[in-house]
Structures are given as structure tokens and as C-alpha cells.
Amino acid sequence: MKVVIIKYNAGNTKSVENALLRLGVQPIITDDKEIIQQADKVIFPGVGHAAPTMQYLKERNLDSVIKNLKQPVLGICLGQQLMCAHSEEGNVEGLGIFPVQVKKFKSNNQFEKIPQIGWNSIRNLKSTIFQNIIEESFVYFVHSYYCELSDYTIATTDYILPFSSALHKANFYAVQFHPEKSATIGQEIMHNFLNLC
């Protein structure tokens, strides 16, 4: 199986690569259009700022490459947010795969910290990528922006308000949390993604 991690300026590819290696898969890390298009699975990771990252993708024509992929694609963290229609972070248009708005958390009191950093639970799990994952399992989050709930929500997490901790539409999957840093639960979710047809 050929698994590609899309290489771009948002970093964090190392952690995803390590997680795949632990699952026995040697990924290819590339921004080469053809290699991405020919892969069996594509992972679109991300840590960083939405606006410069979108600009980086557009300059390399990777935006249209990603949204036209037909094989299973998994967006992680900023990757998820960039797969949506619009992000408040830098007021930027995303890839538009999910007709979903990305908004910034607004704290109501001194106990609601931004960014959300740490382990939170996922519920209302509705996808094969959550096969064998029980409701309210804990996964690791680091983020200040969130994807709103929508018809494409396949996992919900509560922080300040309920938001989409995972989205799914056709061959596109996206998670706000970091499966590569979410212990055995995260490993299982990545394993399920790799087993998608």
C-alpha cells in the first residue's frame, strides 16, 4: 500500500510518519502532484496558520490536486480546517470539500483556556474509521479554531461548545485531534483509515 503524507510548510509530518511506521507502513512524504494522485491513501496533516498554508498550497496548485483526489484522504488538525469552506484564521477560503465554517473559540470565563490543549472525548461516532472505538474515547487536541457541527459530522467533542471533531464526505475524512499522538485509540483510528477501500 502506498501512503502519501502531503508535504507542506505546516510541519508536523514527522509525528504522522512515526505513527505510520509504528503501524508497519513506510509513507512517502511529498508535494509531487503525480505521486500524490497515484497513492492508495493520502494524509493531509497540519500544524500552523491557515492563511499562509492555503497560499502555499495554491502556489503549488496542490489545492485543486487535493480536492480532486478519489482515494481515501485523511485531514488532520489544520488539514481538517483547510478542507472546509472558510476559516476565521486569517479570513481565508479553504478547499471547500466540506461546506463548513471554521471559527475561533471564544472564552466565556477564566477557566476556558484557548487553545484547547489536552485529552478530550469524542462522541456520536458515525464512521468506519471509528470501528472498534467506543463512545467517549479520549484523543489529544491542540487548537484554537474549530469546525462547526454539520451534516458531515462523524464525531462530536465538547469544548466551550459542541464542535465537529471529525468530518466525512465521500472519500474525504478529517479529524481535529491528533490520532498520531492519541495513544492506542489514535493508532486504531489510523489503522481503520488505512484499511478503507
Binding site: N18, Q110, I117, W119, F141, H178, K181
Partner: protein
């Protein structure tokens, strides 16, 4: 619900853990990778590795070690100790660290926080503050060996404004005493800052952890010896916290 984090801290010297660690069935108690894996199995939420050597050779050893840790464990970890340049941070993050912690270098050159936050993102920049109480809480540097005239509350606000993603607050009055965390200054930081606060220094029993979450509103609690010597097994601690109404990952 977001859970409170339990974070074991490992001191590293020349690529090995210092301070004895008595996991009886561990073949090499000095191997940070083996220890890290053990803590992951026990349910630690994150790990912190603090390099207490700061020579150039040791730095290379540290980067190699970070690479090994990153391939071996599947939870987030922070690396700190002697980090003073963008190149240091770049090397550690590239090797697979999720966050870096800076301390003395940030006090000496506060602009470093802005630079690191801008370049790598606030989420991976932890500012460690060592503090000691006199007339008020003041900042200490160089591993707690050198006093400054900086008030901790001022400094904590400043590092937040400069773009720190988290604060790791160690009370030197409490560190090593096993008499509990410094609740007042921890609570001040946890309620006055927007960013998460990791409390450190003074953990001696399970009640201390409950207090630092309940009374001081810490987002996470860090400890070393009580975990290393098996005095408080992490699964026991987490069950105790859960029974007492604290949200934890079990």
C-alpha cells in the same frame, strides 16, 4: 470534557535518565526510551524531558534521543533544558518533539518567545518559570540557582502576551518537599492567564494533585520522584482523581 493532565518529568544527562528510577522489572532504568514507554502504558498524558547537561556534545545526544523517543511513543512530549536559539528549537521539533520548554533564555531575551511563537506556533512553545516566594513571588533562572528582581505575576502575563502556548510553573519553595504544590501562585496564573498552566514542584501524595486541580485550577500537574519511585502509580492517581470528581483520561 477536557481532562486534567498528569505529566511525569524525566531528567536527562548525557542521554540517560538521572535520579534513580525503580521500576523493578525494567532492565535498564537509565534508558529514557524504555521509561517513556512504561509511562505511556501507565496512562501518562504527556511527558517532559529535561536535559540537565548543556554542552554542545550533549545537545547532539539529546537530538538523537528525541528522535528515538518520537519513534517509540504515541503521546505528546516536551523537551527542555538549555534551549536558547531558534536553531535549537528547530532541531528538537524536527527530531519529533511536540513542544519545547524555554526558561533562562526567555528571561535573558524575552523577544525569543515572540520569535519562536511566530516561527513554530504558540502551541509548541512552553515557557517554564521557576519561582520562589519572598515579599512576593519572584522569578529564578539557571535551574533555580540565580535570583532575579522580576515579579512572577508580571513575567507570567508578559510571556502570555509574547506568545507562549503554556506555562510550566515550578515553585522552588515546594520543589522536593513533598508537601504539596504552591496553590496560591498556581491559582493566580491559572485564573489570570488565558493559556494553560502546568503546576510543578511539591507533589508528595494523591491529595496534592486533587488540591492543585480543585483549589488552584491547574490545567496539568507535573511530578518526577513520586512517579519514578513508584510512590504514586499513575493508574491509582487517576482513579483517585476520578472518584473525587476530576475529569481525567482513564
Amino acid at each position: 470534557m477536557l481532562t486534567k493532565r498528569i505529566i511525569p518529568c524525566l531528567d536527562i544527562k548525557d542521554g540517560e535518565t538521572v535520579k534513580g528510577v525503580n521500576f523493578v522489572d525494567l532492565r535498564s532504568a537509565g534508558d529514557p526510551v524504555e521509561l517513556a514507554k512504561r509511562y505511556v502504558e501507565q496512562g501518562a498524558d504527556e511527558l517532559v524531558f529535561l536535559d540537565i547537561t548543556a554542552t554542545v556534545e550533549a545537545r547532539k545526544t539529546l537530538v538523537e534521543l528525541v528522535g528515538k523517543i518520537a519513534t517509540a511513543i504515541n503521546i505528546p512530549f516536551t523537551v527542555g533544558g538549555g534551549i536558547s536559539t531558534i536553531a535549537d528549537v528547530d532541531a528538537l521539533l524536527n527530531a519529533g518533539a511536540d513542544k519545547v520548554s524555554i526558561n533562562s533564555s526567555a528571561v535573558k531575551n524575552p523577544e525569543l518567545i515572540n520569535q519562536l511563537s511566530k516561527q513554530f506556533g504558540a502551541q509548541c512553545i512552553v515557557v517554564a518559570i521557576d519561582t520562589k516566594l519572598y515579599d512576593d513571588w519572584k522569578v529564578y533562572v539557571k535551574g533555580g540557582r540565580e535570583a532575579t528582581s522580576i515579579y512572577t505575576k508580571h513575567w507570567a502575563k508578559e510571556v502570555e502576551e509574547r506568545g507562549a502556548g503554556e506555562i510550566l510553573l515550578t515553585s522552588m519553595n515546594n520543589d522536593g518537599t513533598k508537601s504539596g504544590f504552591a496553590l496560591d501562585i498556581t491559582n493566580w496564573c491559572a485564573t489570570q492567564l488565558q493559556i494553560p498552566v502546568i503546576a510543578s514542584g511539591g507533589a508528595g501524595n494523591k491529595q496534592h494533585f486533587l488540591d492543585v486541580f480543585n483549589k488552584a485550577n491547574a490545567d496539568a500537574a507535573l511530578a518526577a520522584s513520586v512517579f519514578h519511585f513508584g510512590e504514586i502509580p499513575i493508574p491509582d492517581l487517576k482513579h483517585y482523581l476520578k472518584e473525587n470528581g476530576i475529569s481525567v483520561r482513564i
